[in-house]
C-alpha cells in the first residue's frame, strides 16, 4: 500500500533523511518511533507529499508521490492524516470541519456529507459537540474530531504524526482508544508515536529511526523482545522505565 524506497532529504546542507526504505502493507499497522529530531515526522510527511524529498521514491497504492505528473491533491484525498497539533480549522464548527473536504474535494452534497460527519462524530463519541467550535473542546476531543475529519474522506490509509504528543496525560487514552479500534478494524496505518503501549497492543511492525536513518525495521515482538541495534535498546530502556 505504502512503499518508501531509498528516500533522502536535505534542508540545505543538512541531511534529515538518509536513504530510508520501508513499507506498509494493506491492513498493516506500522509504528515509527525514535528520539526527537530523528526524522520520523519528516518521513511520514513525505508519504503524502507535504514534505518534498530529493532522492528516492514513495508509492501510495502504486502512485508515485514525488512524480511532478501526479495529481497530489487527488492522492492526498485518499490518505488521511492526523497532526500533532490537531490543526482543526478554528473558524468553523466541528461539523463544518468534517464536512468541508467532503463537499469541496469529494464533491459530496451537503446532506450526504453531514450524514457521514455525524456518523463519524458518533463513532469518536462526540456527536453532542457538532455545533461547537474547536476552541471550545479539550485537546483530546479536538484530536478525535481531527481523526473523524480524516476518516470522512474514506481513506485507504491513515497517517498519524505524534497524535498524542500535545495532549495532557489524562486525554491520551481517549485518542488511543479510537486509534486502536481503527487498527483492529483493519485500517492501514502508519503512526509516529512514543506510545509504546499502543505499539505493543496493535502494531504489526515497528520502525526505529535515529539521525535520519531507519535503524531498525522489525516485527513488533522481535522489536520489543530483542532489539538488534544498540541505539534502539537504549531508547527502549529509557522510554519503558516509566
Amino acid at each position: 500500500m505504502i512503499e518508501i524506497r531509498n528516500i533522502s532529504k536535505w534542508y540545505g546542507a543538512f541531511q534529515v533523511l538518509k536513504d530510508c526504505t520501508t513499507r506498509v502493507s494493506q491492513g498493516e499497522v506500522v509504528v515509527v518511533c525514535g528520539p526527537s529530531g530523528s526524522g520520523k515526522s519528516t518521513l511520514i510527511k513525505c508519504v503524502n507529499g507535504l514534505e518534498p524529498f530529493q532522492a528516492g521514491e514513495v508509492l501510495v497504492d502504486g502512485v508515485s508521490v514525488g512524480d511532478p505528473q501526479t495529481n497530489l491533491p487527488k492522492l492526498r484525498a485518499r490518505i488521511g492524516m492526523v497532526f500533532q497539533n490537531f490543526e482543526l480549522f478554528p473558524h468553523m464548527t466541528v461539523l463544518d470541519n468534517i464536512n468541508l473536504a467532503q463537499i469541496k474535494v469529494l464533491g459530496r452534497d451537503k446532506v450526504a456529507a453531514t450524514e457521514r460527519s455525524r456518523q463519524l462524530l458518533k463513532r469518536v463519541g462526540l456527536e453532542e459537540q457538532a455545533a461547537k467550535h474547536p476552541g471550545q473542546l479539550s485537546g483530546g476531543q479536538q484530536q478525535r474530531v481531527a481523526i473523524a475529519r480524516a476518516l470522512a474522506l474514506d481513506p485507504i490509509a491513515m497517517l498519524f504524526d505524534e497524535p498524542t504528543s500535545a495532549l495532557d496525560p489524562e486525554m491520551i487514552n481517549e485518542v488511543l482508544d479510537v486509534m486502536v479500534s481503527l487498527a483492529t478494524e483493519g485500517m492501514t496505518m502508519m503512526v509516529v508515536t512514543h506510545e509504546m503501549g499502543f505499539a505493543r497492543r496493535v502494531a504489526h511492525r515497528v520502525v526505529f529511526m535515529d539521525e535520519g536513518r531507519i535503524v531498525e525495521d522489525a516485527a513488533k515482538d522481535e522489536f520489543f523482545s530483542a532489539p538488534r541495534s544498540e541505539r534502539a535498546q537504549l531508547f527502549l530502556s529509557k522510554i519503558l522505565q516509566h
Binding site: 503524502n48 492526498r76 497539533n85 480549522f89 480524516a150
Partner: protein, 223 residues
C-alpha cells in the same frame, strides 16, 4: 476679535452633504477594490514563483515610496494622455481617475497588511488543508484567508480611516468632495475660517468615533 458667522455653514449644509457623499463613495470603492487587489498582490508576494513575488514586491515598494498627491495627479493627467494612444477620446474624468488612483495606491498598503495576516496563520493549517486534498485556491479560500481576514479587520479598518482623511486630497484635481465643497463655499462667502473649522470638527468626530469602534472590535477579537 474675529466675528464668527455660521450662516454660510448652515446654508451650505445640503451642498456639504453632497460633498460628503462623494467622499464616502470614493472611500467605499477604493477600499473594496483596494482590498481585492491587495489580496491578489499579497498572494503574489507570498508565491514561490519568483516572477510574481518580485512584481508584487516592486509594486508595493514603489507606491509606498510615492506621495499620494503625486499618484492622484498622474492618473488625472498622465493616464488619459497615455490612453490617447489607444483610444481616440479617453473621457476618464476626475472622478474615475481619482477612484483608480486611490484603489491602486491603497492596494500597496492593504497588500502588506494582508500578507502579515496570512503569515500569522500557523503553517500547520495549510498542511492540514492540503492533507485533506484541497488545492491551493481551496486551502486559501476556505481555510487561510477567512482566518487571516478575521485577524486583520482592525488593521484594515484603521488603514481605511487614514484613507478617508487622504481622500480630501482630491481637491487638487478640483473634485467636490467634502473638503472641496467647503472650500468653494468658504471662498464664495468669504467665510473660509468657519468652513474649515466645521470641516475639521466633522473629520474629527467621524474619525475619532471610527477609531474607538475599531479599538472595541479589536478587544472583542482578542478575547
Amino acid at each position: 476679535m474675529y466675528d464668527f458667522d455660521w450662516t454660510s455653514v448652515v446654508g451650505g449644509l445640503p451642498y456639504l452633504g453632497s460633498g460628503m457623499l462623494l467622499s464616502l463613495r470614493l472611500l467605499v470603492t477604493a477600499v473594496a477594490v483596494g482590498v481585492v487587489l491587495g489580496t491578489v498582490l499579497a498572494l503574489m508576494r507570498l508565491s514561490r514563483y519568483r516572477l510574481l513575488s518580485a512584481f508584487a514586491g516592486t509594486y508595493v515598494n514603489f507606491f509606498r515610496s510615492m506621495p499620494l498627491v503625486l499618484v492622484i495627479f498622474w492618473f488625472y493627467f498622465l493616464v488619459p494622455l497615455m490612453l490617447r494612444g489607444v483610444i481616440d477620446n479617453p473621457a476618464v474624468g476626475p472622478l474615475y481617475s481619482a477612484l483608480i488612483a486611490f484603489a491602486i495606491f491603497e492596494a500597496a498598503f492593504y497588500c502588506e497588511i494582508i500578507r502579515a495576516g496570512i503569515q500569522s496563520i500557523p503553517s500547520g493549517q495549510i498542511s492540514a488543508a492540503y492533507a485533506l486534498g484541497m488545492n491551493y485556491a481551496q486551502a486559501m479560500g476556505h481555510v487561510i484567508l477567512p482566518q487571516a481576514f478575521r485577524n486583520m479587520v482592525p488593521l484594515l479598518l484603521t488603514q481605511s480611516i487614514v484613507l478617508f482623511q487622504d481622500i480630501s486630497l482630491v481637491y487638487v484635481i478640483g473634485l467636490s468632495d467634502f473638503l472641496g465643497v467647503a472650500a468653494k463655499i468658504g471662498q464664495r462667502d468669504g467665510r473660509l475660517v468657519e468652513l474649515y473649522l466645521f470641516v475639521a470638527a466633522v473629520y474629527f468626530v467621524l474619525c475619532f468615533a471610527a477609531s474607538q469602534l475599531v479599538r472595541r472590535l479589536q478587544k472583542r477579537l482578542a478575547t
